[in-house]
Symmetry: C2
């Protein structure tokens, strides 16, 4: 049950076979070829608000997030921003299209990430096809999330978007029963993730609070007070 190994970057590696969700495992990659992965891995810390990667840059590294939260986003030339995802420990950051990163990534909180040189990882994959298999499965997950987000952005109302966002985050964060959910990102980030404005996000949260669907103990946490009602409000 606790065949854990400590890794380069201090993350725990839970046994994939006994059903414990492998968090923070030099993320998506371990527990495959762990020793060899460790040999090519480095650690990287980034302060809240600082950037990890930038869209268009040469994609030299791939990261797996081990601590904290990261937002990935794209910008239009005039500054409009679309956050395409919030990454949590275990997530993979830096999949590239061709040679360049397809999005920028900025730390929401202080973060710790495991860094792999792209070249080294590719070389390692040649010997360990399971690694590539794992990456493909990961990419499938991301694609599924992206599709769901497109549905949200294209077809849901403000209320449905906020409800979906809260439920989606809660589902990924495995929280204790009744425990308030941390919302480390600010309202602007939520707005840019949901394709809304700060004001609309704020108003919608207030409405949900007044409707008894959620509680807002402080600006950076939420409690889901009425799960069924929130689900009904999410549109799906």
């Amino acid at each position: 049950m606790d065949r854990q190994q400590t890794h380069c970057c201090g993350a725990r590696v839970d046994c994939a076979n006994c059903g414990i969700r492998p968090i923070a495992i030099c993320g998506a990659l371990a527990p495959i070829a762990l020793g060899k992965l460790a040999a090519i891995a480095g650690s990287r810390r980034v302060d809240a608000g600082a950037q990890l990667i930038q869209e268009g840059e040469h994609a030299q590294d791939i990261f797996t997030l081990t601590e904290g939260m990261l937002k990935i986003y794209k910008l239009l030339p005039d500054g409009r921003r679309q956050i395409t995802g919030f990454m949590i420990p275990g997530d993979l950051v830096g999949l590239a299209y061709g040679d360049s990163y397809i999005y920028s990534a900025e730390a929401v909180t202080d973060i710790v990430a495991c860094r792999f040189r792209r070249g080294s990882l590719l070389a390692l994959m040649a010997d360990h096809p399971e690694l590539e298999h794992r990456l493909l499965s990961r990419a499938g997950n991301e694609l599924a999330a992206a599709q769901a987000q497109m549905l949200l952005l294209g077809r849901k109302t403000a209320r449905e978007r906020v409800a979906s966002f809260l439920l989606g985050l809660a589902g990924r964060l495995d929280l204790g029963q009744g425990e308030p959910m941390p919302l480390p990102m600010n309202r602007g980030d939520i707005a840019d993730f949901l394709g809304l404005t700060i004001e609309t996000v704020s108003r919608t949260l207030t409405l949900m609070r007044k409707a008894g669907q959620i509680a807002l103990p402080d600006k950076h946490s939420v409690t889901i007070a009425d799960l069924a009602s929130l689900r009904a409000a999410s549109g799906d």
Copy 2:
């Protein structure tokens, strides 16, 4: 220059080395392990308007589109629809999340697709890691497209969306100079792709026509009359 091979499903296989874009190659997969791929491939024809796969269904097959156009989409329970992509020859359809398809796919025109049993393909990948590599690269492309579409849906105006759509499609379809671009999908499909209504799409196309940016010889074709202006109108 014309080292072509004819394949199970009648598609041409252009030599990847001489720079010809490999269209309709049992799509994304060939020219890897062509013989073995051919051995496990089947052909599937679908009439315009009929469904190829359905969201949530057991994902038994993977397809590569060889002829025609396919739309992939997700639905909300109340019927709202988001089209997440239009597939053209060479594209891969049916990447799954876990065991189930994450979207439905319906033929826009009559189509021909190459069908691979998921299991057979997985088995073949065990012997040919390049196949998996190819799939991963394909998934990366799709992810990049999904991110761009999220930016469009979350942050662009109606005009920018339509302009981006036309430019994006034109970029994929390699057309002859001055040749009108076919738009086999109807206005409702475009609307559901861009997160707009039929009326807004229609109005916007009319505005663009009156502004001299495009011409609309008939309802199912467009000519880009002023590329620079259309680019400027696309927001990026």
